[in-house]
Symmetry: C2
Subunit: 318 residues, 2 copies
C-alpha cells in the first residue's frame, strides 16, 4: 500500500548517483531531477544510491543535500533520503526537546505505527546517533510527568509479538478490563489499560478493541476522545490508532497540519515521508472519506514549489 | 574471559555431527564423547554442528539429546547445545511460571547480565517460541505485583546504550538521587532508582555506583541488601550486580545452589551454562575470593557422573 511509483527497470545505483551529482553541481541546483530520482526509489534503493554517491564523490549524499537545498524542501528531501530507522530516531530525538501534543504524537508514532522489528532498528539507530537509549531519554525527559511518562517509556521500550496468533478468550477478558477503566472508571487508565495497550500484539489488540465495540456499542477510541483535558487519555487514543488503524492517525495529522492558521510543515512532511512506503494509499482513502477532500488538493492548497513537488510525488496519484 | 577450551584446529561441523551420531547410535550412549565434542565448542560452532546434524540425519540434535539422555545431565547438555538467545528465552519463560526469589533472579539475569544486543535477540527468540512478547508475559504474570512488576517489565524491555561514553556530571547527580532514595529514604525505590537502574548504560551505572560509594562511604548494593524483607530492594540489588559486576551475582548463585540441604541443580546448571562463554573465569576468581573454595571443589562435592563431567568441562581448569 505504498504510494510511491518506481520505474521499471530501475537504473543502477551508480547511474542514479551520477545523475544526482549532475543535478547538484555547478551554478544552481536541478531540484526537479532530485525529486525525479529520489522520489521514485524505495528505501533500499535510496540506501544504495547514498553508498554509491559517497564512494564516487567522497562526500555524503545527505551532506550535499543539506548544503544544496533549503527550507521545507530540504527537510523533506533529507528525511526521505535518510535510512528510515535513523529518520525515526531523529524525529523522536527532536520531539523530546519540545513541549506540546504534536511532539508526543511523534513518540507514539515511532513506537506504535511501524513493525516491532522496525522499532528495534529505530532504537539501535537512536543509540548509535545519540549515545543514549531512546527509553532512557524519555524516562529522563523533564517535559513529561508520571503516569504519562511511564506509559511513553513503555511504548518506546516495546518489542511486541508480531505473529498473527490471537487469543479470543484473552480479547474478551481484556475488553472487559478496558471497559472497567475507560467507561465504568473503576480503574485508573495507567493500570491495566496502559499494560494492555503497551504490550499486546497488534492483531490481539485489534481483536480486543473489536470485542469492546461489540459488547459496549462504542469504540474505545471514541470513549477515550471524550475525556477532554485528560492528557493520558488523549495519548492512549493516539496509541490505539497508531496500533490498530494508523491510517486514521496520519490522515488526522495531515489534516491538522493544513487547517487553521498557517501550515505545520514539520508535521505534514513527517506524515507524508514516513507513510509513503507504508500505507499512504490507505491514508488517502481515509482522508477522502473523513474530510471530503483529497490529500493532494489540500497539499496543493497549502504548499508550493519544490516542496509541493516532493510531497505530491510521495503522495502519488489520487 | 570464557572458561571453555576449544581444540585447535576445530574439526569441521560435519565431522563433529558424525561423531555425535556415533555416540548416540545403537545400544547405550557415549556420554563422554558428547561432552568431549559439545563441551569444547563455541556457540557459533555448536549451531553449525546442529545444522549439519539435522541435514545428515533428518532429526534435530536437540530432539536426539532429549531422547538419549536423562536427568540433570540432559538438562545441562540441552541448555548448552541450544542457541544462547533461545536458551535465555526458555529460562525466562520457565521462570515466569514459578514463584520465588530464585525465579525472579532469572528474569533479572536475562535482562541485565548480557549485552543489550543479546537481550534483543532473546526477546526475538521469545516471541518466536511462545507467540507472545517477553514483556507482555511479565506484565500479565499473576505472580508479581506493582511496583516490583513495573520494575521487571522495565528491565526486560530495556535496550540500553552499549557504548562507552559516560557523563560524569550525570553520574554525580544520579548518585545523589540514589542516595536520597536508598539511604535517606526521601523517595520511593520505584521512582528514580528504578528509572536509573532500569535505563542507564552499564558504563554509566558503574560510574554512578562508584560515585555513590565515594560520596557516601558505602556501596549501594550493601545498603540495598540491608533492607531485609523489601522484595523490590532485593531485586534492585540483584539488578545492580548483574549490570555492574555479574561475576558477583553468578558466584552467589552457584554458592547458594550448593550450600544447604540438597543441591539446586537447576540454578547450578543455569549459572555455569550461561556464563561459560561470558565471564566464568571472573566468576571463579570471585568465588575463590569470597568463599575460600573453588567452584570446581564445590561442584565436585555436590555432583557426580556425566552431569559433573559437563559442568567441570564448562567451568574449565582452576
Amino acid at each position: 500500500m505504498a504510494s510511491i511509483s518506481i520505474p521499471d527497470p530501475v537504473p543502477p545505483a551508480t547511474e542514479d548517483a551520477e545523475n544526482i551529482r549532475k543535478a547538484v553541481q555547478g551554478w544552481g541546483t536541478d531540484e526537479k531531477a532530485l525529486i525525479e530520482i529520489l522520489g521514485h526509489r524505495t528505501a533500499a534503493q535510496r540506501a544504495e544510491i547514498a553508498v554509491a554517491y559517497e564512494g564516487l564523490y567522497n562526500e555524503t549524499l545527505l551532506d550535499r543535500l543539506h548544503s544544496e537545498l533549503s527550507g521545507d524542501f530540504r527537510s523533506a528531501m533529507m528525511l526521505w533520503t535518510m535510512d528510515p530507522a535513523a529518520r525515526d530516531a531523529k524525529l523522536a530525538h527532536k520531539a523530546l526537546k519540545k513541549k506540546g501534543d504534536r511532539h508526543v504524537w511523534v513518540l507514539v508514532e515511532v513506537a506504535c505505527a511501524s513493525s516491532p522489528d522496525h522499532h528495534v532498528a529505530v532504537r539501535k539507530a537512536y543509540c548509535a546517533a545519540y549515545s543514549a537509549s531512546l527509553e532512557e531519554d524519555v524516562a529522563a525527559c523533564p517535559l513529561y510527568k508520571d503516569p504519562l511518562k511511564q506509559f511513553l517509556v513503555r511504548l518506546v521500550s516495546s518489542y511486541r509479538y508480531s505473529g498473527e496468533l490471537v487469543d479470543d478468550e484473552l480479547a474478551r477478558a481484556e475488553a472487559a478490563e478496558l471497559h472497567d477503566a475507560v467507561v465504568a472508571r473503576k480503574q485508573t487508565l495507567h493500570g491495566d489499560v496502559a499494560r494492555i495497550v503497551g504490550s499486546r500484539s497488534k492483531p490481539q489488540l485489534k481483536a480486543t478493541f473489536e470485542r469492546f465495540r461489540q459488547e459496549h456499542g462504542r469504540a474505545i477510541d471514541d470513549v477515550l476522545e471524550e475525556r477532554r483535558g485528560d492528557q493520558l487519555a488523549a495519548v492512549l487514543k493516539t496509541a490505539v490508532w497508531c496500533l490498530a488503524c494508523p491510517e486514521k492517525h496520519f490522515a488526522e495529522v495531515i489534516r491538522i497540519s493544513i487547517v487553521g492558521l498557517g501550515t505545520d510543515e514539520e508535521s505534514l512532511t513527517r506524515a507524508i515521508v514516513s507513510r509513503a512506503e507504508v500505507d499512504m494509499k490507505k491514508v488517502k482513502e481515509e482522508y477522502k472519506a473523513r474530510y471530503r477532500k483529497t490529500v493532494t488538493s489540500d497539499v496543493n492548497g497549502d504548499t508550493s514549489g519544490y516542496y509541493n513537488g516532493i510531497l505530491l510525488t510521495l503522495v502519488g496519484p489520487e
